[in-house]
Subunit: 342 residues, 2 copies
Amino acid sequence: MLTERQLYILKAIVDDYITNAEPVGSRTISKRQDINFSPATIRNEMSDLEEMGFLEKPHSSAGRIPSQKGYRYYVDHLLSPTQLSSRDVTDIRSQLAEKFQESEQVIQQSAKILSQLTSYTSIVLGPEVFESKLQQIQLIPISTTQAVIIIVTDSGHVENQTVYFPENVSGSDVEKVVNILNERLRGVPIYQLQQKLSQEIASVFKKYVSKYETMLTALREVFRDHQQEKVYYGGKTNILSQPEFNDVERVRNILNIFEEDALVSRLIRSEDQGLTIRIGEENDFKPFEDLSLVTATYTLDGKYVGTIGLLGPTRMEYPRVISLMEYFSRDMSELLNRRNKN
Amino acid sequence: MLTERQLYILKAIVDDYITNAEPVGSRTISKRQDINFSPATIRNEMSDLEEMGFLEKPHSSAGRIPSQKGYRYYVDHLLSPTQLSSRDVTDIRSQLAEKFQESEQVIQQSAKILSQLTSYTSIVLGPEVFESKLQQIQLIPISTTQAVIIIVTDSGHVENQTVYFPENVSGSDVEKVVNILNERLRGVPIYQLQQKLSQEIASVFKKYVSKYETMLTALREVFRDHQQEKVYYGGKTNILSQPEFNDVERVRNILNIFEEDALVSRLIRSEDQGLTIRIGEENDFKPFEDLSLVTATYTLDGKYVGTIGLLGPTRMEYPRVISLMEYFSRDMSELLNRRNKN
DNA sequence: TGTTAGCACTCTTATTCGCCGAGTGCTAAA
DNA sequence: TTTAGCACTCGGCGAATAAGAGTGCTAACA
């Protein structure tokens, strides 16, 4: 229902506002050389677009800015899919070189590059511990009453925790426990550990191990604690450099959210394979109501393992961000997979 | 060389400025009921104090604010040692309850409480991996070319890293490596691992292990990477709520520093046992030139293991902060020691 | 001689006013 | 349908002004 010209004007306004962060007037548009209409004509169209809800005015004598609906339309219909500039590609390539051994490093570095390239804040979830399986459990004694329990997953992830037990637990008991655990739990997904422990292992313990209760409670705790996934950030303060955030109080609120990993994880997580764009209130979260969040997933063996996200003002450089996210989504999956294979 | 009255006035001004963050005028001081001098007299004294460098004027018709030298004098001579309020003590006690198993949790929680109680930013270093000794090394294979190497220290700290080696390394070689490492390196301080590896172990490897070079480089890397200590923060954004920080650019600079753990670690670290107060430029670090940093150390078996720090405006509530820091320094040492003993 | 009242002076902050410029909306003409 | 023209709106900015807080100095006082 939008005419060709209206589409053009809407796109022009969004593009302009994205780069300049200032309300766009009719004259600015009409001065473009690929359009041949007078400011007056543009004004009429703008007025119509506003009536339809795509634009709004900060005040009566300023130019127009895109409304949330305007951004949404822009993202859905107006976006010309851009190629990543070769400069970006070489930048990424050089910074995400092969030197990274740990998948954790790959992720951290990706977050960093993403934020540097965009001057938004990047947030990366995972890799999903949840889905990975137990490879081995080790119990390493530190003193007579203390040991470190170490859980290694098949994806090479390591979790550890110190456990305490009473003086009178014998070394052979500890050994038995470790053996039982490794025998029974290898290959079990991390999220099932707790359950298995209560249902199967408990009774086995009872049979072979004296003083098994202490062990059991300690283990239960360890398994419970290590189910949440990690959150990595890049450029936490980048968002402060956006002109719309020169109010310290607002900034503080947003920055505080970043300290709550569990909350952020919930906000970012997206089950959808592929790219998701949430604009302003679409985030359904008050402090993000003038922020946009673009997320994509990355995979291991085709399975979801984590999410990458980019948080910026609603006035976000969508075309660039989208191609970047697509690139990273692919590249991280690839890097992690290669790492896991050879 | 300062008269009784000058001391009183200096203290009054610092106290007032600390709580109100606004230049203090002569009238404000004279209105205190425990002083019986007219504003004019106070003015004369203030003028003298300014000449001596303890006070300064933001501009000619504002009140006075303490200079850096003024704060220093206040901290060194004027501070009445205050008792921690019983409310604070119960607050701390309840939040730092016994439930914490991991020393990491104790530290994190301490950082959090400290920041909540003061609305400054707390920074905690350690516990010092550097000084601790190797307890055990484990190598857990993940795939044919991948293993996780796990280093456990005598303080129960765990470091891990994934290593990759060529297909043709035999299982028995790996086993040999682990055995040699555990035999030769147990009890060696972490910071000496790299050196020992090159000097002693290399030749042993050469003798017994085929394909030892790959192993060696992998290990070298692992040892190198795990020497730095961890930095924990509490209330990163607290500093934003101080009235002197409503400039987004300044805030950004400071927050960015917090992202550089190595830098922060260097700034905070203090070899001095006991309490250290660095005011403004005493930090010798441009971005901190109007911040104060109070640090204290905590110990394990009487040995230094880490530092706790509190970062706030120079206009800091020194009396309260000092007693809090003393309390935490003692309490954390105690908690950690108890944890290590029983 | 130390203290204080008084007063002129300084400087900041808040407020008001007027003006400029960017931009709109409407009307009428092409 | 498009556009030129014009009146109108509104925010932003600088100058002018007033208010207020505080100082420094002088002279008088105990």
